[in-house]
């Protein structure tokens, strides 16, 4: 090889390397590929409960009258402001003007009325229809004013209207949203490669501040090892709710990635069938509470990520009271309570749904319960079976599941809920809370409700499910916590 040819090759090589390294500095990246765990059944959050629909569409494609922000607070969405009548029974929303759906049609009060009436209609399949039960009537006062009349005061209404299932849909396009979602959000739907990914592009007619990203791809990667490989290989830039805590140390050790451990609203409980013997005896339930070692659970099932809880309430929310000390881990106390209740030599079935937090926690809890003299038979099951056997038919003793809905203390006040908890005192307290408008008084009531659940040892309260976020270290603006299942990408950008 001649010197000349060698020089030429070296020059080409150096130029190539320089282009590779220097490239990104000149062109700011505006695309993003983000991993999600489950395939969405369709893209209409008002017609199915699958959390992944919200994770893709909420605040990106669709917006509600109100909006839930990164801290779980209610902020204005398509309604600029609202006020409530003195008796707490009429809400008046002033709607934003100059808002367009992606198909070009204008948003006004008709769409809001249509959305809510569709959700409460007899043939509605809205997954949150139950929360709208207090609504008596919805009407458009004028093109930009909406009035919602209630059967009884419902202070939660602005929060409820911010949930993914209650986003505003266009009255002409509601039925085609499953495959062609048409919302008002900062991103437009581009294409859905079923089984693989969903593509969004920036909406240049967005009413608010335009997002920094121009293209977003949601890629469905369910297998934890595959998710790990996809991030490591640069196939995706972010996985905001990473499914496998065991992989996190590898990302933490790699400077290319940022690992952010936040909180979800996922209150993980050891659900107990309060109506079934011997769990109808409070001493037995308290014995089980004493046999729960939360530290061991969090270390063993979540590799140390996650916060202990002592009642059905997430620590980040206003009104939280720490009750984790109420039943310290104490096998001797548990055995004594069981003796007192005459419930020795118990044998209980523990139904476990598929998520790894449930399966791993189940093994640990079964071991601890055996230690205090309760034989536990573990029954693993699929979600579909769990929903019918445990949730609908209440044919179970114990189960482990995370309740991810925010502000869901109401489930303990429902008749016929799968815990079979039936306490007139709790129901009275909850009714008081639902009607109370004064924030100070609400906080006091919230504390009493938590206290009551813990006193009655309704369930074993285990831990709050963490939100394990992993993303490219150059990305900014993701939600640290997950107050609702969502990936609000409005504020996400690549660092300059």
């Amino acid at each position: 090889m001649t010197v000349w040819r060698m020089t030429r090759r070296c020059a080409a090589l150096i130029l190539g390397v320089a282009l590779l390294c220097g490239g990104p500095a000149f062109a700011q990246r505006t695309d993003l590929a983000i991993g999600v765990r489950l395939e969405p059944p369709h893209l209409d959050p008002t017609a199915a409960a699958a959390a992944v629909i919200g994770e893709i569409t909420y605040a990106n494609l669709f917006e509600g009258l109100t909006r839930i922000d990164r801290e779980g607070r209610v902020i204005p969405g398509l309604a600029e402001s609202w006020e409530v009548s003195d008796d707490g029974k009429v809400y008046t929303f002033r709607l934003r003007q100059g808002v367009f759906f992606h198909d070009g049609s204008t948003f006004d009060a008709r769409d809001a009325v249509f959305t809510l009436e569709r959700a409460i209609a007899p043939d509605s399949i809205n997954p949150q229809k139950a929360l709208l039960e207090p609504i008596e009537a919805v009407e458009a006062v004028d093109a930009h004013t909406l009035s919602v009349r209630l059967k009884r005061p419902t202070a939660q209404l602005p929060f409820i209207l911010g949930l993914p299932a209650l986003v505003i849909v266009g009255h002409e396009t509601a039925e085609t949203n499953r495959a062609m979602p048409n919302g008002t959000g900062p991103f437009r739907f581009s294409r859905w490669h079923m089984g693989d990914r969903v593509d969004l592009v920036r909406n240049d007619r967005y009413w608010g501040e335009k997002p920094a990203l121009s293209r977003v791809t949601f890629r469905v990667i369910g297998d934890p090892s595959a998710a790990y490989a996809a991030l490591m290989a640069g196939n995706i830039d972010a996985y905001t709710n990473f499914p496998a805590p065991e992989h996190l140390p590898q990302f933490e050790a790699d400077p290319r990635f940022k690992v952010v451990v936040g909180r979800t609203e996922g209150k993980t409980v050891l659900a107990q069938n309060n109506a079934r013997k011997p769990l109808d005896d409070i001493r037995v339930r308290r014995a089980i509470a004493h046999a729960i070692d939360r530290k061991l659970l969090i270390d063993g099932a979540l590799y140390g990520y996650g916060d202990p809880i002592g009642s059905h309430f997430a620590p980040q929310n206003a009104g939280y009271v720490d009750l984790t000390g109420r039943y310290p881990y104490d096998p001797e106390a548990a055995r004594a309570l069981l003796r007192e209740a005459g419930a020795e030599g118990l044998r209980l079935k523990l139904a476990l749904p598929p998520p790894s937090y449930a399966r791993r926690s189940g093994e640990i809890i079964a071991e601890r319960l055996r230690d205090v003299g309760i034989q536990v038979d573990i029954v693993p099951m699929e979600w579909a079976q769990w929903l019918t056997d445990v949730f609908r038919d209440k044919n179970y003793d114990l189960s482990i599941v995370s309740h991810v809905e925010p502000n869901d203390l109401d489930i303990y006040a429902r008749d016929d809920y799968y815990f079979n908890y039936d306490s007139p005192e709790y129901k009275a307290l909850y009714a008081e809370l639902a009607a109370e408008q004064d924030e100070e008084k609400r906080l006091v009531l919230l504390k009493s409700l938590q206290q009551k659940l813990t006193d009655d040892a309704v369930n074993g309260f285990l831990f709050l499910l963490p939100k394990l976020g992993v993303w490219d270290a150059r990305l900014q603006g993701f939600w640290e916590n997950a107050p609702i299942p969502a990936n609000d990408l409005t504020g996400v950008r690549w660092e300059r």
Binding site: M194, R219, A226, E382
Partner: protein
């Protein structure tokens, strides 16, 4: 030959009819309610009932079975509960990934397994033979999903030569699409090629020991010539049965492999449909797989006849 074909087709149809009844019945005893899965824990009973009516789940069993089977015959088995699109469209799109994947894997398995088996048989008892046998034993022992993970770590994460998974779609061009199928196909093919190599070697060794091969050698053919001209054709008969058995195995293997490589294929479709209780999709896909396996078996039977004159005459 024609009679054999007619008998084969008749038994194929009978198989499919029985399979359709069994599959449909299995879906009915599967625990879980599709409406509850779709609407989750906050759904009220009247909402669930409304959805069940929309999905046609409130109809009598016989009506649902007949609607499904008659739909199958016209190529339109129904509408997916979860996706709300025709099942045939879903399946067609997914076959666009799974069939090329299975074909690629089969071709690779044959291209690797058969020559290795022949090589080992030709060098029987020597180092090459022992080497092939050990490698083949390893290949059979290694589960394909684990192999898949190793391949991803090496070729996607460390070397970055190939994507770790996903499928760009055929409209992105044949190049990127094929590239996305390389690792999954290798992961599927290697264990299969190990089986093929072993069978090929054993079969050839058996044939080479027979009298007609000795006669051929005695006429002055070299070992290689005798192998190519006389032994191979006879040794292929067991290979055909193994290939016939391997095809369904490959299809089943795609369910796992498509999950490891997050490919939008038929295996992942059926996996998700089972979890979401999208019964119409599950039963249609399973029916399709049964049909494919039955047709492959029929073809293998016919291929026997082509290779083995005894079968041809007996029929």
């Amino acid at each position: 030959m024609i009679r054999a074909f007619a008998a084969g087709v008749a038994s194929l149809l009978a198989t499919l009819l029985v399979a359709s009844v069994v599959i449909f019945a299995a879906m009915q005893v599967l625990p879980g309610d599709p409406a509850q899965v779709m609407l989750g824990v906050n759904a009220r009973p009247d909402t669930l009932a409304a959805l069940r009516e929309q999905l046609g789940l409130d109809q009598p069993l016989a009506v649902r079975y007949w609607t499904w089977v008659s739909g199958l015959l016209t190529g339109n088995p129904g509408v997916s509960h979860t996706y709300a699109v025709p099942v045939s469209d879903l399946i067609a799109a997914r076959l666009g990934v799974s069939l090329p994947l299975a074909a690629l894997a089969l071709a690779l398995a044959v291209a690797i397994g058969l020559p290795l088996g022949m090589w080992a048989a030709a060098r029987r008892g020597r180092a090459v033979d022992r080497g092939v046998l050990i490698v083949a034993q390893l290949g059979i022992a290694v589960p394909n999903f684990w192999l898949a993970m190793l391949l991803v770590l090496l070729f996607a994460v460390t070397l970055r030569w190939l994507p770790p998974g996903g499928f760009p779609g055929w409209d992105a061009g044949a190049g990127p699409a094929l590239l996305a199928l390389v690792l999954p196909a290798v992961a599927l093919a290697l264990p299969q090629s190990a089986i093929l190599a072993q069978v090929m070697r054993q079969s050839l060794v058996d044939v080479l020991a027979q009298d007609f091969v000795r006669t051929a050698r005695a006429k002055g053919l070299t070992r290689g010539q005798a192998l190519r001209r006389h032994a191979l054709r006879n040794a292929f008969i067991p290979i055909l049965s193994v290939l016939g058995l391997q095809f369904p195995f490959l299809l089943a293997g795609t369910i796992i492999i498509e999950n490891v490589f997050f490919l939008p294929g038929i295996g992942r479709l059926v996996f998700q449909a089972v979890n979401q209780r999208d019964l119409i999709v599950v039963q249609s896909v399973v029916m399709l797989l049964v049909a494919i396996v039955a047709v492959v078996n029929l073809l293998v039977g016919l291929a026997y006849a082509a290779v083995d004159p005894r079968v041809r005459r007996a029929a």
